[in-house]
């Protein structure tokens, strides 16, 4: 049973790649493999309004940085996120935290 999820308030994700590199450094992941990967939608007009979103997605290599968290640290991606829009949240708090974030928020249990 997983106890924590990764919450991303993706309306603020700027696509800076810091999470991807921080994860590769932490877990010594090869250049063509990913522990978390940022996907992009747009820029594209939706019903007349510009949309441009990024969404990081953890992969099978993501263990939410168990070792770091046991040592009291944040996962490498959360720690370095320039937009400060990622958090590790106990599973039971996820819905409340998503509600608090309002719109354009996702949570993963990798």
């Amino acid at each position: 049973m997983k106890t924590h999820g990764l919450l991303i308030d993706f309306k603020y994700c700027t696509g800076c790649h810091a999470c991807e590199i921080a994860c590769k450094n932490e877990h010594d992941i090869a250049m063509d493999e990913w522990g978390i990967k940022v996907f992009e939608f747009g820029p594209q007009k939706l019903k007349g309004k510009w949309a441009w979103d990024y969404l990081p997605m953890p992969t099978d290599l993501c263990d939410l940085c168990t070792e770091r968290r046991e040592a009291g640290k944040k996962p490498a991606c959360v720690h370095h996120c320039l937009a400060d829009c990622m958090a590790v949240v106990p599973v039971e708090e996820i819905s409340a935290r998503m509600q608090e974030a309002g719109d354009k928020v996702v949570s993963y249990i990798p």
């Binding site: 696509g15 441009w52 720690h79 829009c85």
Partner: protein, 774 residues
Amino acid sequence: MAKCPRKINDELYRDEWQWQEGDLTVTRNTQWSGPGCHNGCGVLHYTDKDGKLVKIEGDPKSPMFNGRLCMRCLAVPEAENHPNRIYHPMRRDPKDRGKDKWEEIGWDEAYDAIASEVKRVSAEYGAKAIFTMVGTGRNAGWQAHALCNSIFDSPNVGFGFLSGESCYVPRIAAMAMMGGAIQVMDCAQVLEQGYDDPEYVVPEICLIWANNPIVSNADGFLGHWVVDLMKMGMKLIVVDPRMSWLGAQAEMQLMLRPGTDAALALGFMNVIINEDLYDHEFVEKWTYGFDELKERVRDYPVDKVAEITGVPVEKIVAAARRYATAKPATVQWGLKLDQQTDGMGATQALQCLWAITGNVDVPGGNIIVNTGYIQNDARRLVVKHVTDVDERFGNDLFPLRKMGVTEMSSTDILIEALETGKPYPVKMLYLQSTNCLANMAADPQRCMKGMLTCDTIVVSDYYMTPTAAATADIFLPLAMSTERVGCRGWYNPLRTINKIHETEARSDEQIIIDLGKRVNPEATPWNTPEEFWEDVMTHLETIKVPEDFSYKKLQEDMYFWQPTAYRKYEKGLLRSDGEEGFNTPTGLFELKSTMLEAAGLDPLPYYKEPDPSPVSNPEYAAEYPLICTTGRRSWEFFHSEHRNLRSMREFHRWPRVEMTQEVADRYGIKEGDWVLIENAQGSAREVCVINPKMAPDTICAEHGWWFPEQEAHSSNPFGVFDVNINQLVPMCKEGPSGFGAPYTTQMCRISKCEDFDPEYPSDVPYDNVAHFSL
């Protein structure tokens, strides 16, 4: 997550500057050496028992950065431990420039050779024949002045052929004259409590103009502060000829024709003054020249501005009203204002805009800040006077230079001096941390030919660069990041750079001290940079410190905060006489600048059509119909740096030129194709990326490209002349003030490039199209 909670584990992230974590030493530090940007982020350097940097993380206790860190800084261990680092000085016979005929030498031999050339050139031609060049700021700015003015005794220190000093200098000059101080967007970056300071107010509107701050992070400004404030409710208006992520999030985007910023800002003021939306109290009490400004903006009715800029009338009116009625409103401006021949006019206009709306030095407006202060103290300790200052290049031609508005020597004059020997010959160049032929030089092949006329060229850098490979006689390897000490005073707080281990490479400070001992021993009585910095701390003029203050103490404390205040003009905090008002000749914020007037320049904001442009030169535009803007940044690189880092190149392998689908179709180009970009002066090759929305007939090409994986020693070192976009930009077209140059307004044409397909040594598949991200 309006504001993410910042819980910090005090056991793991400590207040002391250094501790042990398992086998690793953790050092809290300031990342402020190249490769990397201006920001000086707070980092944790993790080093092993041999002092090798094995990991870097953001320091959660670093104010305003809070542990976050960009991908370039996360690659610092890769940069520092790179197999291509050079650790020993090298020498090459000047007749072998460009060839792989380097001989490794010791530091003493390198210093002796440089000292002997300094003495010979000074005796034969005068010390002014020695020119020192420097790249962009960071921990390498004041050092060039110290070396040039004091050790070489020459007045000539300048940028690496950055025409018109067109990076921040034009804006700094205009700010110094109009408001008497540097002003920046208020993101609470000077407040010890940051956003939690009770006096701080979140701007209602941020007008982002001529930059994309989240990527560029220019001049010490962390672009993601804008994102922090968006979370707190700040809205955006973005003025940019291209669609950006911030633009997509904005209430309004104004996609102007490149180079027409001044007209647009004057149009804003036409609306604001005509509709009586300006701040009467501030204007009447604190500004000078409002009536003349009012008269000037009459020349810029909105319909005329719409025609010049290509921005529709209703958008101009709506944006002007929104900015003027938002309280507070702030402007985050950028480099592209400097990179226009008459960019000073735009700079003046934007300052007038934030002044007449009452946003000067108010919470959440554009605040007056202290930048580069400790660096000035450091420089003053070495440079007691400057010899032959009147003979500094450009001082006779440009009154603002003579008035001391900048201390940089003009490289637009230097290139002519190298070519003609007039006004006087230059025989020796010392390049400190500038890879100018790949980066800031306009017309780099012309600049290279000019450089090669010199008897002696010294280059200091971390790696072999196109500039060093093509021109250097002596190469001095520089210490990076964890290998050097330093100090950074920019906004708040003051912080140190801490040396963790030593290599054979040396810091700029150590080189100044060592060369000083050979050439001008009185100027450098210290033996080490640590001794030097302790001495600086006892001679501070720019800030007040407690009696027990020392460099060592600052290092141990990590940060030293200075008191700040809003509305300093009301409190007598801006002028040396202690009177209230601004530090200008009239004591007021000068909408009409008395100093510009004294210099014979237009004292009011003005617009002049770029040359060439479709309007000013339709014949040229018929042949070269597209406007090519350059200089937009990417996540992976800082100017010409980071091209040798595999991690960055796997994300961003080739130079990218953005264009709309319509423009690409017109020229038979597909996304992912190599594109030849050319004009009457030169050409460059970049890969096409489609940006769905840009100003009409505009393309946006990346700068700073070279291929470290290619051959260094050839007539095309590291392939730089295949891909350097500044080959389309001329030298010597600086603005009437001496500042500003047309980097961002060149005309060009494009075609599909069939015969160009460089290789990159990697097994990782790279799909030009799939790897695009604007």
